[in-house]
């Protein structure tokens, strides 16, 4: 698929059109990084230069990291996304295995429920869950950020589809060796399902690292802020026009995912699209 298939003139047109699009797609990223490197007087200058004439990176990044505890927010982001994904695996993989490979009463009902729940956008359940947490005094805790996402009907669906394709011989052999069903899930099925788990992991981490709606509702305490809450706070409550530090903060917040994406493009594209099922 890598060879040239177009005649010369059309190849040029293709590049021109695609480069125009690329400029639009990448412009915000380029401007963000460029501005994060500029001193204040250049950002507010009446003449526009894309590249900084003098370097103001040190003060911008220093401000971004000290005006709000940005590193702490990043740490929260890591804790929350890691906890969500770990619990999602523990909760949903065994259920997916049961739905794919075991016969039991209520299996059809359970799978039907999974399919119906797939249609529910998470914003629809946010309000009742907020009230539930309010009653139980769980608002403003890490638990509030993590618990609602521990069940992932999408994860169950995805893993079940994958497990259906795992040969039964593998499972039967493990049973003959005397392994329990629960043991089979973790020592036979999970290792066989690494590609699906990676795709689901990327989907989950991207979705929850970037999520703004639920954390905005669930926590008010700054010490629990995730990166999106942190940067929105910097924008809305800091000096709204301190663009240098703001762009530095934006660069820091998107850097982990963007770097991971550039390193493992194919996996990311797969993870996000074949999970495109979930709107």
């Amino acid at each position: 698929m890598t060879g040239h298939r177009l005649p010369g003139s059309l190849r040029l047109v293709r590049h021109l059109v695609l480069l125009l699009g690329t400029t639009v797609m990448l412009a915000p990223f380029v401007l963000m990084v460029a501005t994060s490197l500029k001193p204040k007087d250049e950002i507010f200058a009446t003449r526009f230069h894309l590249l900084p004439q003098r370097l103001g990176a040190a003060e911008n990044y220093y401000e971004a990291l000290t005006q709000v505890p940005l590193l702490h927010f990043l740490l929260n982001g890591v804790i929350v996304t890691a906890a969500i994904f770990t619990l999602q695996v523990i909760v949903n993989v065994p259920a997916a295995y049961a739905l794919a490979k075991l016969r039991f009463r209520g299996r059809t009902t359970l799978f039907g429920a999974v399919l119906v729940c797939l249609l529910i956008p998470y914003q629809a359940t946010a309000l009742p869950i907020y009230i539930l947490f309010y009653w139980f005094g769980l608002l403003n805790t890490y638990a509030a950020l993590v618990l609602p996402f521990t069940i992932s009907v999408f994860g169950i669906f995805l893993m079940r589809q994958f497990f259906l394709g795992v040969p039964d011989d593998l499972i039967d052999a493990a049973r003959i060796d005397g392994m329990s069903e629960y043991g089979i899930v973790w020592s036979v099925m999970a290792p066989a399902a690494i590609p699906a788990l990676v795709a689901f992991g990327i989907f989950s981490v991207v979705a929850h690292w970037n999520d703004y709606f639920w954390p905005l509702i669930a926590v008010a305490d700054h010490s629990l802020y995730t990166p999106p809450l942190g940067i929105a706070f910097l924008k809305l409550n800091g000096e709204g026009t301190a663009y240098g530090p703001l762009m530095a903060a934006a660069t820091i917040v998107i850097a982990p995912l963007v770097l991971a994406f550039l390193l493992a493009q194919r996996r990311f594209v797969e993870g996000i699209t074949f999970t495109g099922l979930k709107g």
Binding site: H4, R5, L6, R14, H15, L18, G21, T22, M25, A27, P28, F29, L31, M32, F48, P94, A95, A98, L102, F104, L110, C117, L119, I120, Q123, A124, T125, L127, P128, I129, I131, T150, I151, V153, D168, R175, E181, Y182, W209, Y212, F213, L216, P227, P228, I231, Y243, L246, A250, V253, I254, L257, V258, F261, Q265, F268, V269, I272, T273, G276, G279
Partner: protein, 296 residues
Amino acid sequence: MADASSRKASLPTVLLLTAPAVLLMLVFLVGPLICLFVLSFTDYQLGAPSISLVGLANYAEMTGDETVTISIANTLIYVAIVVPASVALGLGAALLIDADGSLRGFYRAAYFLPVMATLIAMAIVWGFMLDPRIGAINFGLKAMGLQPLDFLNDRKIVLFTLCGIGIWQSVGFNMVLFMAGLTAIPPELYEAAAVDGARRGGARFRLVTWPMLAPVTLFTVVITAIRAFQVFDTVAVLTGGGPNKASEVLLHTIYSEAFGYFRVGYAAALVVVFLGFILVLSAIRVFVLDRRRQAQ
């Protein structure tokens, strides 16, 4: 289904495997959904000591609530602009990228980057680029001899500005869906079309590519529409629904009613309306998926 050798499992085994998921499903999906419908028929306010049933009063109030009517209208306009634009651009990008091998990976990565990047951070970057005094876009307009625009504070254009950001963010997502669709088209079809005289790009597209992509297109339209209905981040951080409700959208109205005014009952009724829109779209999606599966 591959049931032939699947094992009849004992109750303790089944419980061990499925009970956590079932329990959490009841607590965080089924239960909240039932509560949502019940709440939408009450006057519950967060922190209020009493709660009483008010029948359809919340739904009746909606029809006369200017904020809600504007909000629903804005959301529909947003969806009606973002969906066709980002699907068409996504298809165009996919066809162009797929047409030749050169710089394929670079283009795909560039177009996909906005899908990955934290939207709330990128919205803030857009806010900076759209700044009426020092934003890059207005520098560009001035350089072309045009009047600078106050993209986020002019009520006539603010919604379209947000549409632009929405399109920018979803083109790459649609592009990769279309690229997957293109890879699935068997090359023999193009050969057959060439035998029938369809050698040029236009004819090939009309006879082979477009019909073969039709199911993917429908699927992409529905998914993009569902995502567009959920627009919230850009509004929350850039405009707060303003100026004068010109960029108020459904999720933002729900958020304000529930967590700004704590009118839970009314907000719940609004969520039911939001859910209604999503479910209609989802029904189409299920229908499409079903047809795709049968077609395979």
